[in-house]
Symmetry: C3
């Protein structure tokens, strides 16, 4: 995260929108791919989640479009996941429809077989495959519940560790955490529109009024911005928060029900791929308004993988550090996150319909947008750095 | 209508079509957007019907695409209709999915609220909205059964009255008229193809052979062209017409059933938005072939609103000046016009599929097309004047 | 077929594919429309099959898109098939929705009527149609089970005979042959991808493993290339082949069941429109490994008609020269070819999805692809000749 720049937002709020066509079409030279002022929709030199680990059993390939390219995943004999370019070197048949036989990925058309490194190792009609008969091999790491992929330049992958997700139980063995996998949504919108949404609490009072009762006032609390080596936070705290009985929060976090605690509600940007909305983190209340020992943490972790310039794979997991075996809590949390995310997906896709003609310079922003705008700048800086 | 020019049609009929690719693709420099010889599909500096008034109850916004732009309509506290550009100034969410609360239009995403003039008057997260936080406001007039909108330059709206539709009971209070609203069709074809159809009686014998029995010979009567301040007419008269019992005409216009009358069948171009097909107008028969006192008038009024370059909102009302309370006649007339219009819509959409490659200069026209060709010239002149 | 050039394949097999994006996107100047190195997808100055003869009864027109153009077929009073450009000269209504009345094709919109030569002969609103009121007329020949059409320049048609299909019973009266018509498939792929498939036996072991049991080893037999005046052959022979009882081959070719015969399995390119896969041809076995007198022949004839740049009408007939009245054999053969062709269609369409970004220079080919690559060169040469 050393590359995240937190530049001051430059006088964005007062941009005029009184043009006769405001809200419809931009004019003059385009400032980039809305909502970013950048030439591309999202940074590419990053680790992204290609799939949940449990989406890839042994013996069957999985096809996935990432940054507009067909990718095929499969497990070799050792059980390790491999990710290769998805079109056969012979006649470009998509390999996702193939088989995994003897730990090799076999093309459905004429049976060229590939190893985990992408090298073709067998051609049924005979002959030794040329060293050129090789699919692009994507760097892949399995960690936590995820199969991570590096869609950018392979050399850069070697120098770039995965985002450090120990805070939220998603790095390494996740000891002490329960992790539940929510639905992978196919979002008909570019990734940065989803990020806008995730760093914006003010829509809760509208889009999620029914799904997140009681949360509608959160956006009115001024956020604190905080940066560490691993994440950039837009945070809000509620000292003395009481989870009333029979509310969703009391049911999913029984440890805090009915007594005043210190609560942190924050959205953490770990990387373009990984954004966590705490759900919440609760601490003992000390001195009436200070956080003491941690009691319980819930994380709704939003995982963003660009499908192409205008669509996004939207993964999601819920992690928590208490009542690890309580299936009922897991079910409630997954149901809640999926309900909320589907509400968002419908609305975000409405903006995507017009996104090609939108001009970020015509937006009207307020103080409440500060967090989201800071994150946009982070994304823009990453894209600019890739182009330099 | 001072701007309607009725130039002589310039030798259109003999244009050759024996090119090996005739009927398929044009060649050389394109003459414009078929079927017009103009750079755009339809005039923009005009009053158009955005909606039937009864489509816009209080308390709920209505979204409509007009000239390719999202427009949102709603009623303010006073009950007046307002039309605004359809994307929120904040993050461009389409406002059609929002609410009307306290007479303000509220964005579904973060709740920015707008007044009837498009000015943002409330931002839930606080702060006074900037004067720049303003949606484009379209001139709107409610008159007769319509909400009229001006999609062009606002200044020109002020100098342009609505089409004068008193003739057909659609201006002002409509005293003495019964007006019934037919279905709004979503026509998959550019507006000028619909106009072509409306000014062409010769298709009745084919497309509407079942729906308009007895009308198939009308196109053989030579039309008379007639222009007044309010409309351009392609007219035909039938002196001594007798509505035979048990025909559609006798059922919907009982006053003329079974006796010779003078009938006027005409198609009137009031504006690019409004075309009336009389259905018919009946007069007493005088001197065996002259019109006397009016007996009864039916109007099938075709309302054309460009949705975008290749699609059209096709509204329709039926007005009549007799038997105002006869619900049965109303039902028959609405059923007839909707049946006929849907037949047309299917076929016109067939032409639209190929319209991008059609060349008006390759058309073969005859005397029977004279009326439609004159109206095309009117439309072309209006577009040219806008571009001058 | 004098125009088929059989140039040596130029070092195609060793083309590198280890570019980091191999299998995804080509780079630099495009080599043409994959899988050909040519500016267009298929040769146009050729006879193609527009329809099976039995698709065109008297009294009803048939619409078909060929090379991206709407074509309408109908039978005139004499019963002969005519093919005309598919959009009316008047207002370009597609004529496929019209009627055939009195042996004339009548437009559904305003009833212009056309003779078999494309000349408009009647306009219902009166007047003598201009000689310019003429649709493009395509050269057409009915022969065997087919209505052939020439989509190219009409003069060239006159100098070009139909492909000579006497070998397979599809020219002239087909005396001594039984011909069964299989389904016309709408293939979502450009024609050259289908040709690639037809000249490639190695996919049988994969795509058709269930449908063509026992055939999976065929691709391992080295092919012999052979050219005559009428066709270019990729052939394989099986001296001493025995059709085991209860196999598909024994059931559909009873004359050879259970005894050693000489079998020829070949794919013959007669023209871009016509490719035959023998199914098989069987001869008496002489001297243990030589062909003697012919016993029986089955042909699965693949008929390729470009619909547009990325889609193909895929017709198919099965012909045989034995047991002509055995309906059961006919039913089995048609069922087999349709099952196999539908399997192919699904997979070929998978490649089409990516075809716009594929670069033939990045393919990895082997000896087994030699036949298909030779045929590609034939197609390329035909296209080049058209452009010269
Ligand atoms: S396309 Fe994969 S083996 Fe031929
Ligand atoms: S997009 Fe409308 S209030 Fe934010
Ligand atoms: S379009 Fe065919 S007759 Fe008018």
């Amino acid at each position: 995260m050393a590359s995240i720049r937190l530049e001051r937002q430059r006088g964005h709020a007062a941009e005029p929108a009184n043009d006769p066509r405001a809200g419809a079409e931009g004019e003059g030279d385009s400032p980039g791919m809305y909502p970013l002022q950048a030439s591309r929709s999202y940074p590419r030199e990053q680790w992204y989640v290609a799939a949940y680990r449990n989406e890839l059993p042994a013996g069957k390939p999985l096809g996935r479009e990432i940054f507009g390219e067909p990718v095929v995943l499969f497990r070799s004999d050792s059980g390790e996941a491999a990710a290769l370019s998805g079109l056969c070197v012979h006649r470009f048949m998509p390999l996702a429809g193939g088989q995994v036989t003897g730990g090799k990925l076999v093309c459905p058309y004429h049976g060229y077989a590939y190893g985990a490194d992408g090298q073709c190792v067998h051609i049924p009609t005979g002959g030794k495959p040329s060293p050129h008969a090789k699919l692009r091999h994507y760097p892949v790491i399995e960690d936590g519940p995820f199969i991570w992929i590096w869609p950018g330049t392979a050399e850069k992958a070697a120098n770039t560790p995965l985002p450090d997700l120990r805070d939220i139980g998603l790095s390494g063995d996740g000891e002490g955490w329960r992790v539940d996998t929510a639905e992978r949504l196919d979002l008909d919108a570019r990734p940065a529109l989803l990020v806008d949404n995730l760093f914006d609490l003010s829509h809760i009072a509208f889009i999620h009024l029914q799904s997140l009762p009681g949360a509608e006032g959160l956006a009115l609390i001024p956020p604190v911005f905080d940066r560490t080596d691993v994440r950039f936070r837009v945070g809000r705290t509620l000292p003395g928060f009481v989870a009333e009985p029979d509310t969703a929060i009391a049911r999913t976090m029984p440890l805090i029900a009915g007594r005043p605690v210190f609560v942190s509600l924050h959205t953490d940007f770990y990387s373009p791929a990984m954004i966590n909305s705490s759900g919440p983190w609760a601490y003992e209340l000390v001195d009436g308004n200070q956080p003491g020992a941690p009691i319980a943490k819930i994380n709704f972790v939003h995982i963003v993988t660009p499908k192409n310039e205008t669509a996004t794979h939207y993964f999601n997991v819920v992690s928590r550090d208490f009542d690890l075996d309580d299936e009922d809590i897991s079910a409630q949390l997954v149901a809640q996150t999926d309900r909320v995310r589907k509400e968002d997906a419908v609305w975000i896709a409405q903006i995507e319909k017009y996104a090609d003609r939108l001009d970020v310079r015509k937006e009207i922003s307020t103080k409440a947008d500060e967090g989201a705008l800071k994150v946009r700048r982070v994304l823009q800086a990453l894209i600019e750095a890739e182009e330099a």
